[in-house]
Amino acid sequence: MGDLLRENTLYGNIYDWAIGIVGEDLAWLAYTVAVMAIILLVVNAFLAMGTLYTWAERRIIGRFQSRVGPNRVGPFGLLQAIADAVKLLFKEDIVPRAADRIVFNLAPIAMLAPSVMALAVIPFGQTSYLANLNIGLLYLIATSGIASLAVMMAGYASSNRYAMFGAMRAVAMLISYEIPLVMVLLAVALLAGSMSLVDVMTSQAIPFLLVTPLGAIIFFLAISAELNRSPFDITEAESELIAGYLTEYSGMKFGVFYLAEFANVLLAGAIFSTLFLGGWPWWTPLSHVWFLVKVMAFAFIAIWVRSTIPRFRIDQIMVIAWKVLFPLSLVNVAAIAIEVVAWPERTLPQLVIMGIINWGITAVATVAVTRAWRASNGLRVSPSARAVRLEVG
């Protein structure tokens, strides 16, 4: 029973320690205890990373905006996230009188749960995964679907019009962007020949970012939308909807939403680096660090995007989902399906050839779709204010 755990040294040690306490006869108990301990470890490490990430995001955005960012609590303000959490814990928990109390209270849990659940299949490093699920990609899609339900629950239960607006926007957007996202995952599964994330990772002789750049771009955009990140952050657009579905939340419930959002960025980074950045197959002992570096790179780009560009309007977001990303993802799937049939072994030279073809497809498809979209929208760029020169009196 413990063989699965023994694949990883740390997990194996925990299991052996548990066995040493309860004895071989109660191996099932030892297994349960060990698994609980491992889950506790992973989940807490993940949430701690999430809190740390909130600090990092605020500091980096601060520097982007030529400010300093939080630097008061602890060295470099590192304890800011903890100070925030303590403050949120001590706040009064306000539930609006007209709110649907049960749903209102369930929503934060439903928001955080899927991101924790998704951890099960993410391989953080060589053999460091909780489960090598053979339908890992499907599992990811299934869990991420819960998040949109949580947003709807929060928006509906608050009985606030801003919250309802935010929730309606969120549902429309999240469901729309699920489709290109799934299409890209389909292409990746085709390319790797498996839906297990561990297999996807090991099959990347060269990172899939280079093999299927179009898929990586679509995935990045779609996952930004799923994360409610700029430029798709209409769900809680603070200049329009105050805080969208979060408007009525206060105290730690708000904190849980907040944490889930930032933890989701890390999770998205983990998924992105698993699928496209080749994960960890470098020098094995450093595989965790290497993985972390990739996640941080993804997070940095997300922060950079957030600090630079404004957000789209709801109809434009829908246009991008259905008229741009959806056709592009279809092209991507078709191309990769044909390529996989043509070069079924997926050795390094074959992947290189695929990559070259896919780069060409990416360039052509992007230009074509952008042009079509621009033509349909009448979007023209020409700064039009002119200066009228009058004689000086």
Partner: protein, 193 residues
């Protein structure tokens, strides 16, 4: 097009990432104000003040309260008053400086401080005692004579002779601030020296 404009924006932000932030961490480091800064504490020179209450009349909010009583000093000139009350209600003051502009004898000056927070509103009223005791760091606002002297309120303290347009003479003939004995002498003679 094709995101080139956005790329330009990304370039701008990444350039700013590596620039030094413009933030000044307030309690540790402070920005130095200009010497004309209209600060909170008022510099008031009692010996220059005649109690004419021009400042009180010019205050748009009417927050200066002055009560005077006749004094024994300078009786011959007939116009030297004890200032019994000189209340400036800082809680409502907007530091427009009209009182300073109105002062005909350059007795009242804006200060240079800006950290006068108090816990109670009553404590925000500057009384005459506080005004008397305070270190005099007058702002050069509406005091060109101080600017001409290159007066730096953040380094120097002003004395009542140099702060005004002209040195202190109660009477054109008589230098002010005579020692007590000399003053008595002068009054006995009935003549100024």
């Amino acid at each position: 097009m094709y995101g080139s404009g956005m790329m330009k924006g990304f370039g701008v932000t990444i350039r700013n990432l590596f620039r030094k932030p413009v933030t000044v961490q307030y309690p540790e480091e402070k920005v130095r104000q200009s010497s004309r800064f209209r600060g909170q504490e008022f510099s008031w020179f009692e010996d220059r003040c005649t109690g004419c209450a021009s400042c009180a009349k010019y205050c748009p909010l009417g927050i200066i309260r002055i009560v005077t009583s006749p004094s024994d000093r300078h009786k011959q000139d007939g116009a030297d008053f004890n200032i019994d009350v000189f209340d400036i209600d800082q809680a409502r003051c907007m530091y427009c400086g009209l009182c300073v502009e109105a002062c005909p004898y350059d007795a009242l000056h804006m200060g240079t401080n800006f950290e006068g927070a108090q816990l109670r509103r009553q404590d925000l009223v500057i009384t005459v005692d506080v005004l008397r005791k305070r270190a005099k760091h007058p702002s050069t606002w509406y005091r060109p004579q101080l600017e001409r002297q290159d007066f730096d309120p953040y380094k120097q303290e002003a004395d009542m002779q140099t702060v005004a347009r002209e040195p202190y003479y109660w009477h054109p003939k008589r230098p002010a601030m005579l020692p007590e004995s000399a003053r008595k002498e002068a009054t006995a003679d009935g003549e100024y020296k």
